[in-house]
Symmetry: C2
């Protein structure tokens, strides 16, 4: 198979940022995807409807939202039932960050035991909970150490749709098998790289992200889930642009900018493993079923035609900059 047409591919974890960066990156996502779950960790975070509405308006200026649905999220805090009931139709979920675990999460949750009232409202209202699941432990252990929190949430709120965002470990994949209300997004880069690629040769700041890339056996487990079309696993790029000056620096910001290369790289990955037809599930069908969303109808065709990834998009260096992928998007309808 040297060609595939994807129906309404979706990116279920995306950072669109704001200002000039939003203007730069939103059209790149909108070109290839029919919809995306947009993260709320701006400065200040989006945690009220007026800020959400204003952000939606800025996104609509930056790209064509008739062809690309930006599904917005609220930044987790203690919300009342009324607040969430009012927000329900305008958000796809609420994103929980433990305090300080990643970029712009300073206002996150300090005490995970104090959030049950808000979770009850989410469950009652049918609003998904999206979670950055890391502790403050040793960097290679943070996701594994967080898994007991997922277990408690899954057990205590059995009707709550919980999405373990950007999972990176074998143990997180295995946890999906324990509770029907647990789901996960997986990024492109965690399917392709391990810590070896970040720090095994020269140090590669453009591959530095949170959660950090893990061990080969972890990547294999992620690959298995994605390539076999695991029904509770969705593609979420976690594409997170930073200007080159913030990446190639002492104190390099975490984040891999992958939005414009995601579909070609995924097509190459799935094709190389002879499971290209499974890509439709991973980049669209599973997400539609889990979130019960209906994206704009788009048809994105990819073909096995070499494509050199640009060295940069404006001030931002993309994942795989300057390398040649075997696939490219050849038609966008």
């Amino acid at each position: 198979m040297d060609r595939i047409t994807l129906e309404s591919p979706l990116d279920m974890h995306l950072h669109l940022r704001d200002g000039d960066t939003l203007t730069l990156v939103a059209p790149l996502s909108a070109a290839d995807f029919a919809g995306a779950v947009v993260m709320p960790n701006l400065v200040p975070p989006i945690d009220a409807l007026d800020a959400l509405d204003a952000y939606r308006a800025r996104i609509a200026v930056a790209c064509d939202t008739a062809r690309f649905s930006p599904w917005l999220t609220l930044f987790f805090r203690a919300y009342s039932h009324d607040e969430l009931a009012a927000a329900r139709r305008q958000i796809i979920g609420v994103k929980l960050y433990p305090e300080g675990v990643t970029t712009n999460s300073a206002g996150g949750v300090r005490d995970l035991r104090g959030i049950d009232a808000t979770l009850e409202h989410l469950e009652a209202l049918g609003i998904p909970l999206l979670v950055h699941g890391e502790t403050h432990g040793f960097v290679m252990d943070r996701e594994r150490e967080f898994l007991p929190v997922y277990r408690r949430l899954a057990r205590q709120f059995p009707r709550l749709t919980i999405v373990m965002e950007h999972i990176t470990t074998r143990e997180a994949v295995e946890l999906l098998g324990e509770y029907d209300n647990l789901h996960a997004t997986i990024t492109l880069h965690h399917l392709l790289i391990t810590l070896d690629d970040v720090a095994g040769g020269l140090l590669q700041p453009h591959l530095f992200c949170k959660p950090i890339a893990k061990r080969p056996e972890d990547r294999e487990a992620l690959l298995h889930a994605a390539l076999t079309g695991h029904p509770r696993v969705m593609f979420g790029s976690d594409s997170a642009p930073h200007p080159r000056s913030a990446k190639e620096a002492a104190g390099c910001a975490a984040g891999v900018f992958s939005a414009p290369v995601a579909l070609p790289a995924l097509a190459e990955l799935f094709a190389d493993r002879d499971v290209l037809p499974m890509l439709q599930r991973f980049v669209s069908d599973n997400a539609r079923a889990i979130y019960r969303v209906t994206p704009p109808l788009r048809r994105i065709t990819l073909e096995r035609v070499p494509w050199r990834v640009p060295d940069h998009y404006g001030a931002v260096v993309p994942f795989g900059a300057g390398t040649t992928l075997a696939w490219q998007v050849t038609a966008r309808a």
Copy 2:
């Protein structure tokens, strides 16, 4: 104790480089240390006596070798008995790099099973073998995976002095207990940092080195060995200068430049643990016994007086740049 005078401190693993960098860094080591084991991984590597002699002459131009002994090493290759017999009085050891494991190791050993003849010569001639002990495996496993090689060498060549350079793991410390002919150097930075410091918050290219910093329990084992004056453990900074432009870049070179901050930082570390008198063993006495060397008599006095680490030395950013250490060198005799 707010003051200590060290007698002839030694740095048993040092990169002096060549050219302008040699001119910049050699005086900084010579200021604080009475001697140092100088690594041979220049481009091309120092693997012949004429190159060694020429390098020694360049070092003598760069610093005062009457007060600072540069103990040179040859880059490991298949040497004849005659070659090593001729080199014996001019080198402190032979440094073995597996091919491609670190900076300028492209000419290293590809097949570790084919080196026995040379090792027999080293053993017969009483020349120490210094080893960069890493495999080509996953970055966090490379040292542990190499330990069986150390075991084989220690068993097969019981009279060979083997130095496990810049050890970073608990298992390597434990291995010292198994064979009397195994020794180790430990760097300053591996006593102070873990992978969390490199990649747990923002990514810190100036803390990126090979072997990469490991887990908290590994650092604790290294600290225990150093602070208790383990007789087969020596300080070796592995101070490895790169220009800032090669560190704050896509594809950051491995190496921490610690030579000018090593003694103040070690004094602070040992004093904070109430074992300041043990520092003499770690930075001098153990090395003199293991290598049977007699360095120039120097007295370096450190006092608990705050010292701000310079932001840079020329083009090179030191370990701890811009931070304030609680100790400083106050007299150099």
